[in-house]
């Protein structure tokens, strides 16, 4: 029997306001006067009326909620109903919890026939038409994962109940395994590679992302074996060989760089640095595991990993972002024998949220792209739910906006972890599945969600992008899994190896672990499923979330299983590790895959790449006349790429685990910090400093300098908070576009050369990295004209360091009136690609006039500055330190001022370097510069240590609200007030709340 339970608030519902605000901004013809939000639980069960009433009562807090069964609650005159629920098969977290509660409440068996589906029901009153209601409904759901239904009051009057239809997955019966003939023309090979294998229904299954060359190697391999590949074998090869998994652009020889970019420049830099550091080398596990690990103290390692989740976030922002953040958490849990996540970070690059142009994936204009605001809201909410529910503080982040991110947003997510260096007497970062161990999958179940995610993200997004590539994360399932593994099973020595199920699902994780012992046999029918009817190849490559794969010795299985049961975590044996040299998959006793590990992992043909250099030239924008730059600074300061984003920071729990030292928001004026400090081990006063930087707009001019500035800024941000240069590591995240284009490859090489030069120059090793090489959109505008949007080549550098005493942490805002203000470093005419030039270009006629003088980094000189800064911070001689980055000196001063809500008087007369114009002094983004304040009693000691470093005393903190900057000749250039700057700084953020 199917029944519906409705739960609704009795009194005022706080959620109403948000909905009313967003609906009334949709441009409706009528006006909404009121709404009610009802939770609906559709329950298929054999329960009695009495039992259902008990269930409903358990879902209801009698103080502010009431329930009704099979009868819409009585609500005063409304005219329409919108119901939003999940599409069949999509993860419904609330339903999971509801089912668990019911089973527990009625003390029934776990496997009782009971299905729960939840939906949100909106009762709407007002003077709105059906057309308006349709608009509202489409703003409430994403058709890729959800369904929306509209009912008029007339329609439901008869039953006074919404339809009792269960959104069950119905999968057509198909032959479980298909033999794919590769004795076909090259055209057909190309088609299989690009659009997928033809299923029984005659429809292609979605991209394998295998090019002709790879297809031919596979063709030859199976010819030699004297048989056709089965569909699962081809799908498996496609996953393992995907750009997403194999990073072919970084691995293949390119021009005369025969070892490829990654080995030469990234790993090469780290190897060089480790050798130079000798016994001071702090790297422990780099590049070989899910995260990179460095020494925290004599007992612990700290790990870091940053991922991107761009393609899924473009399709389903909420699902994409939540799977991104909980996915990167698993890179921590999957480090060594399992590290504990202690901090999350995020970085978002969106299109302009005010841009409402319609874009379509297909020429017939049926597949509409989500507008930037919708993507932004969904992504922010995804990290909110994923991070907050997991009990991991989200300590740091950034948000950037540019029209070039309109096609594909960039969604960076990172997690820092902590793990004892030794567990049960053995080094914790080493792991090895042994032949004879069980292959055990723990966590969530497998569905059709997330199929072809890895291959999808290896190509540009267009109308063939698969809808099933989207998944929804369930942070609570993962939290249970994480706690059971990291806090209990790990210490009990119950498994020999562990890894994450991310891209490619178990096809990748199991095959990867099989390398450790030399083979594996899997019985695929044992994999727990969300619903019946999945074909074997789907089970094998599905990216359904919250799963880890472990190797469990046979004699430990019972203890392991018992523990997982007690923690509400599903654990299943799906096979056994072997030393056969093969990856064998059986399905109901029949062998459906038999590929040698050697071919699976190393069969991918090497494809030498060639690049072709390209130079860019842009005119300078028309500069402003006169001396006053007050308006210019005020306009720049409220630019969304410069101003605060407390609307994001405040909705992320950054204080759980009681580890916060330097928070995402600091000072009276709540400015966003550029680096954060945390205390991952409460019994230790050592701190971990994290920071990051990126300069996508510099890429338009020169990617070498773009990369060098990102490295320099990330390092500088960390040093300003109290990090030590000799104990700092970095991570690279390349997000590129059209990466087979020879010009783009040349730009990539330039960026990598900078990575090598400056990582080695600063002695900061890369410990982990990731790339996402095809951030391109190909589609159509609302008139059917083709539109192509690519992101600017982007490199995110994240820095992580250990500081010996977290009490030495320095925050960026001014502290007290009378403190002297110093500028460390030198300023040059380096406004090319700067936020200031971008603003001038945007306001002017020539929108491309962003200049050419992009900042250059002199690491030798900067090292001296940073080391001296380190010294004065350790001696507690500075009251504040803020790194100069986007927006230059003027923006840094304004930010420090707003942070402390204290005015200042600055003279540009003494600043060092080579400048000729006021704009250069105020807005140039020259690297290696820091603004610090020093209190009277520390000035002598401070200046003594700074001897030999380029520094200038440029002003003082004022007790008043006045904000004054005079130019090189002593004329007033900027005159504003701290209050005004405060409002400008928070203006955009307040609007986005």
């Amino acid at each position: 029997m199917t029944s519906r339970l409705y739960v609704l608030p009795k009194g005022e519902d706080s959620r109403k306001g948000l909905f009313l605000k967003s609906w009334n901004s949709l441009g409706l013809n009528g006006k909404i006067t009121d709404l009610s939000i009802i939770d609906s639980y559709l329950i298929q069960s054999g329960f009695s009326v009495n039992e259902l009433a008990r269930v409903a009562a358990a879902f209801t807090n009698p103080i502010f909620e009431k329930f009704s069964i099979n009868e819409l609650p009585k609500v005063k005159d409304f005219s329409y109903i919108i119901e939003i629920g999940f599409l069949p098969g999509v993860t419904d977290n609330v339903a999971h919890t509801a089912r668990e509660t019911i089973v527990d409440l009625l003390h029934t068996k776990e496997n009782i026939s009971l299905e729960v589906f939840t939906s949100k029901v909106f009762l709407i009153s007002g003077t709105v038409s059906m057309e308006d209601v349709k608009k509202i409904a489409s703003s409430l759901y994403n058709p890729l994962i959800e369904q929306g239904h509209i009912y008029t009051i007339k329609e439901i009057r008869k039953d006074n109940n919404l339809p009792l239809v269960i959104p069950k997955v119905v999968l057509l019966k198909q032959t479980p395994v298909i033999n794919v003939s590769l004795s076909v023309s090259d055209e057909e090979l190309i088609k299989i590679g690009k659009e997928g294998i033809i299923g029984n229904d005659g429809v292609r299954r979605g991209p394998l992302a295998l090019d002709l060359e790879s297809m031919k190697v596979i063709q030859k391999h199976f010819q030699e074996l004297g048989r056709n590949p089965k569909d699962i074998e081809l799908e498996s090869l496609a996953q393992t060989w995907s750009e997403h998994c194999k990073h072919t652009i970084f691995a293949n020889p390119i021009d005369d760089i025969k070892d490829g970019l990654y080995k030469t420049y990234i790993k090469g830099a780290t190897n060089t640095i480790r050798k130079q550091k000798g016994k001071n080398d702090f790297c422990v596990s780099v590049f070989s595991d899910n995260s990179g690990g460095i020494i925290f103290d004599k007992d612990n390692l700290v790990t870091h990993k940053v991922e991107t989740h761009n393609s899924p976030s473009a399709l389903d922002p909420f699902g994409g972002a939540i799977t991104g953040i909980v996915g990167v958490n698993r890179d921590t849990i999957g480090f060594g024998l399992g590290a504990k996540p202690v901090a999350n970070m995020y970085g978002f690059c969106f299109g302009d949220p005010y841009d409402t142009r319609a874009l379509y994936k297909d020429k017939n204009l049926t597949q509409k792209m989500l507008p930037p605001k919708r993507i932004m809201d969904g992504v922010i909410r995804g990290v909110n739910v994923g991070g907050n529910c997991s009990g991991i503080p989200t300590v740091s982040g950034f948000v950037r906006y540019d029209d070039q991110f309109r096609g594909k947003p960039l969604v960076f997510v990172g997690t820092v972890g902590i793990i004892p260096r030794k567990i049960n007497g053995k080094p914790s970062h080493l792991k090895e599945a042994l032949s004879g161990d069980y292959v055990v999958v723990v966590g969530g179940r497998v569905g059709a969600d997330g199929i072809h995610g890895a291959t999808f993200s290896s190509v540009a997004m267009d109308s063939t992008s698969p809808a099933t590539a989207v998944q929804i994360g369930d942070p609570i399932t993962q939290k249970k899994l994480s706690d059971a593994i990291v806090k209990e099973a790990r210490g009990m020595d119950l498994y020999t190896s562990i890894t994450d199920n991310g891209a490619g699902g178990i096809s990748c994780s199991i095959a990867e672990m099989a390398k450790e012992c030399g083979g594996v046999v899997v019985d695929l029918e044992k994999v727990p499923l969300k619903y019946q009817g999945l074909q074997p190849w789907q089970i094998w490559i599905s990216e359904s979330q919250e799963r880890m794969t472990l190797s469990v010795p046979k004699n430990k299985w019972n203890t392991f299983k018992e523990l997982m049961d007690k923690r509400g975590v599903e654990a299943t044996i799906v096979g056994e590790f072997t030393n056969s040299g093969k990856c064998i998959v059986n399905y109901n006793g029949k062998e459906i895959m038999n590929i040698s590990l050697e071919f699976l992992h190393d069969g991918l043909p090497k494809k030498p790449l060639t690049s072709s250099p390209i130079a860019h030239h842009y005119d300078n924008p028309k500069t402003l006349s006169g001396v006053s730059r007050t308006k210019a600074l005020e306009e720049l300061f409220q630019d969304k790429n410069i101003s605060g984003f407390s609307f994001v920071s405040e909705q992320y729990d950054h204080e759980v685990q009681a580890s916060s030292v330097l928070k995402p928001l600091s000072g009276r004026g709540r400015i966003n910090t550029d680096a954060q400090v945390l205390r991952p081990v409460l019994s230790s006063s050592k701190g971990v400093v994290v920071a990051s930087a990126l300069y996508p707009s510099y890429s338009l001019i020169n990617t070498y300098h773009m990369a060098s500035c990102a490295i320099d800024t990330a390092i500088r941000n960390a040093i300003c908070a109290g990090a030590s240069l000799s104990n700092l590591a970095i991570l690279d995240n390349f997000c590129w576009c059209s990466s087979y284009d020879q010009n783009r490859l040349a730009e990539l090489i330039d960026a990598l050369k900078a990575c090598y030069h400056f990582a080695v120059g600063y002695g900061t090793p890369f410990i982990s990295g990731k790339d996402s090489m095809f951030n391109d959109f190909k589609g159509y505008d609302d008139k059917g004209n083709p539109v192509a949007i690519s992101i600017p080549p982007t490199l995110l550098i994240s820095a992580i360091g250990v500081m010996p005493d977290l009490n030495k942490t320095v925050s960026p805002e001014f502290k007290k009136a009378g403190d002297s203000i110093y500028l460390l470093g030198e300023t040059y005419d380096e406004l090319g690609g700067s936020e200031y030039y971008k603003m001038l270009a945007h306001n002017g006629k020539d929108k491309n006039a962003i200049g050419n003088n992009v900042p250059r980094v002199d690491s030798e000189k900067n090292i001296k500055t940073y080391k001296s800064l380190e010294k004065v911070i350790t001696k507690e001689l500075v009251s504040s330190a803020i790194s100069l980055a986007s927006g230059g000196l003027a923006v840094a001063i304004a930010k420090a001022s707003v942070g402390g809500m204290l005015g200042c008087k600055i003279s540009l007369k003494n600043i060092l370097g080579e400048i000729s114009e006021i704009d250069q002094a105020l807005f140039s983004e020259s690297q290696g510069r820091i603004l610090v304040t020093v209190s009277k009693e520390n000035i002598n000691k401070f200046e003594k240590i700074m001897k030999g470093i380029s520094y200038a005393k440029i002003g003082a903190v004022l007790p008043s609200d006045k904000f004054i900057i005079t130019d090189m000749k002593g004329k007033k250039a900027v005159e504003s007030s701290v209050k005004k700057l405060f409002n400008l700084y928070h203006n955009f953020s307040n609007k986005m709340k």
């Binding site: 009194g11 706080s14 959620r15 109403k16 306001g17 948000l18 358990a58 807090n61 103080i63 502010f64 909620e65 977290n93 609330v94 999971h96 919890t97 509801a98 668990e100 509660t101 527990d104 409440l105 909110n384 739910v385 907050n388 529910c389 997991s390 009990g391 942070p475 609570i476 939290k479 249970k480 706690d483 007690k566 923690r567 509400g568 920071s649 405040e650 909705q651 729990d653 204080e655 759980v656 685990q657 009681a658 916060s660 030292v661 600091s666 000072g667 709540r670 205390r679 409460l682 019994s683 977290l806 009490n807 320095v810 925050s811 805002e813 502290k815 007290k816 009251s879 209190s935 709340k993």
Partner: protein
Amino acid sequence: MKKNTIQKPKIIIMSGYGLNCEEETKFAFESVGGKADIVHINDLITSPKMLSKYQILVFPGGFSYGDDTGSGKAYANKFKNHLSKELEEFLSRDTLAIGICNGFQILTSLGVLPGALTHNKNGQYIDRWVDLKVTGKSPWLSGIKKISLPIAHGEGKYLISKVEYKTMMKNKEIAFTYDKGEICKFQNLEANPNGANYDIAGVLGYNGRVLGMMPHPERAQFSHHSPLWQMKKQKSRNTKEGDGIILFRNAVNYFNKKQK
């Protein structure tokens, strides 16, 4: 010299299903001389008698069951289904109990404390600091008049009827109210962050022995936790301890004093 034979008070901190503040809460209790065990709800269900050896019961913060079906509801339902008798027995002894944030939501859902918690007035999750004025009488609160602590919640708006409120005020069962104090003035924030009835941030039951509160004292156990730390450390090398630790010390001392 006479040997100190004081037995450390035993504290049980509940965990499981998405509760997530258990470790830092344990750290706070142990740093002031308690002995705290983190116990998974399923283990307590397996050995319910275990509860009788503890003096302090803690429902820490977190996101039990991801707030699905309503914050604290599902965890409270499970506790109620299996451990009602033991909970009753525990509360009938001279014990202390505290529910922090999600733990407070669990305590109200269990019916141990009056009222209920629902969505913040603006419908959004918020992480910030608040100032509190102590208005109740409880072993947890002795010696505290004002205190500043962080909150982090989406459903922290406390609901209570006028009649009940009046009785609770009279009985000194309103633990804290949100107040415009040092931090609100510092960062120009409104006092009541979530629209709670009568500005209530925490309430008491069982003669003040049971405390439920939305703010997180364990996230204020070190001085560096406070947003004012960077300002204050300019003036003096202040103590390493944060204000939040006082609550934990009060609880541990409540039992230590009895032993003397």
